[in-house]
């Protein structure tokens, strides 16, 4: 499990064995059933999590409607990240969709590792940058693309999630009505998706 994490952080910056050992010493393994809420609005996020098995979503309520903003699976990070970074209460729910295993580190422990290793701090800087860029891209696509374009873009980028995530959550993530999502699924047949 730690090997997965090591590969992941190595994509951001080269860490020595000593650097990674500092990080690994602070990691806790957490297992959850499906449909468990890891955090709710008003609570403060204590953990940054790396998914080694399973699937997690982040969402909030706009009136009575759920808005899904993140879907994270194996080899991805998940956290109520604004709350994790700011120390302020979360606006979001984070909930498992499948039985899930997380490698987690608390904010205090991560700060401590940053102080000990500038290279781990670099990984932290680059991951935080990545959060900003993913959010920016999501927002720009939201403004620029129409419903059909968002659907096609998603299918091309993430064919696997179509199989794993309940349709109502996918529709919410793409900001469309479930009926629209069902209708757009005929596009999948015309565009064979690699290997699926």
């Amino acid at each position: 499990m730690l090997e997965l994490l090591r590969q992941y952080v190595s994509d951001y910056a080269a860490l020595t064995d000593e650097d990674f050992a500092l990080l690994a010493a602070k990691i806790v393994v957490r297992n959850f059933d499906k449909h468990v809420k890891l955090i709710q609005p008003g609570e403060t996020e204590r953990y940054m999590n790396f998914v080694t098995k399973g699937l997690v979503r982040m969402y909030f309520y706009k009136g009575r409607t759920e808005v899904v903003t993140v879907l994270a699976r194996e080899r991805e990070l998940i956290s109520a990240s604004a709350s994790f970074l700011s120390g302020e209460p979360s606006n979001y729910f984070v909930e498992t969709l499948e039985p899930t295993t997380l490698l987690s580190i608390t904010r205090d422990d991560l700060e401590e590792v940053y102080r000990m290793s500038p290279r781990v701090e670099r990984v932290g800087r680059l991951m935080t940058t990545q959060f900003v860029l993913v959010k920016e891209e999501w927002e720009q696509e939201y403004m620029r693309l129409d419903t059909r374009e968002r659907f096609i873009r998603f299918v091309e980028r993430d064919p696997e999630l179509i199989q794993r995530v309940p349709q109502k959550y996918l529709a919410s993530y793409l900001n469309m009505k479930p009926e629209t999502f069902s209708r757009l699924k005929h596009l999948l047949k015309k565009r064979p998706v690699n290997g699926r």
């Binding site: 990240s81 500038p118 670099r122 900003v132 720009q140 403004m143």
Partner: protein
């Protein structure tokens, strides 16, 4: 009148808010920084260009917008002391989808992509400074996203007026309306809320 000295002191204070820097440390950063000056209504970066710089506004005012079909959606309004750049283009080195245009004559303290990487390699405190600045950017982005989605038109208007009173004087109304995602007619109507004695 704005002066470079005052603007640099402002930059020093702004950075030190995240990571305390001595005068000597701050002056080590200066060789990495370029000063760029622009007239008003100039495109600092256009759609399709690659963003070379991360900018902090020394003085002046810019807006950032996303051209969508025949509309311009204002996604940022920034004045003195704020960071502005086309971030996806800057970090991924891809053509920009957004345009940054000056509203007033504007001066930037700019750091190029290459200089920023060199700074990270040579200046030990830069790593932490960069991380905390980016973290701050993320938190503000998330808050703005929430305000747009969950607050009413009236609440968004009042909050902006309260927190940015000087912008109401400096920014053409249509840009503020677009930034707050409020129709221009509605925006005009809401302005009565600004009269003295009203809340």
């Amino acid at each position: 009148m704005a002066s470079y000295k005052a603007a640099l002191d402002g930059l020093h204070r702004y950075l030190s808010h995240h990571v305390p820097l001595t005068k000597a440390e701050f002056s080590q950063l200066l060789p990495y920084i370029e000063i760029r000056e622009f007239e008003k209504k100039v495109k600092v970066i256009d759609k399709g260009e690659i963003e070379r710089y991360l900018n902090v506004i020394a003085w002046g005012l810019v807006r950032k917008y996303l051209p969508v079909r025949n509309r311009e959606i204002t996604v940022g309004l920034a004045s003195e002391g704020h960071i502005v750049h086309s971030e996806l283009s800057f970090h991924y080195r891809t053509p920009s989808g957004t345009v940054i245009e000056t509203i007033e004559p504007t001066v930037f303290f700019s750091i190029s992509y290459d200089n920023l990487q060199a700074l990270y390699d040579h200046f030990p405190k830069a790593e932490r400074l960069g991380r905390l600045l980016i973290s701050d950017l993320y938190i503000r982005k998330d808050n703005r996203y929430f305000d747009q989605l969950l607050k009413s038109t009236r609440e968004r208007f009042l909050q902006y007026v309260r927190t940015h009173p000087q912008m109401m004087q400096r920014v053409p109304q249509k840009y503020i309306a677009s930034y707050l995602n409020i129709k221009p007619e509605t925006f005009s109507r809401l302005k009565h809320l600004m009269r003295p004695g009203r809340r």
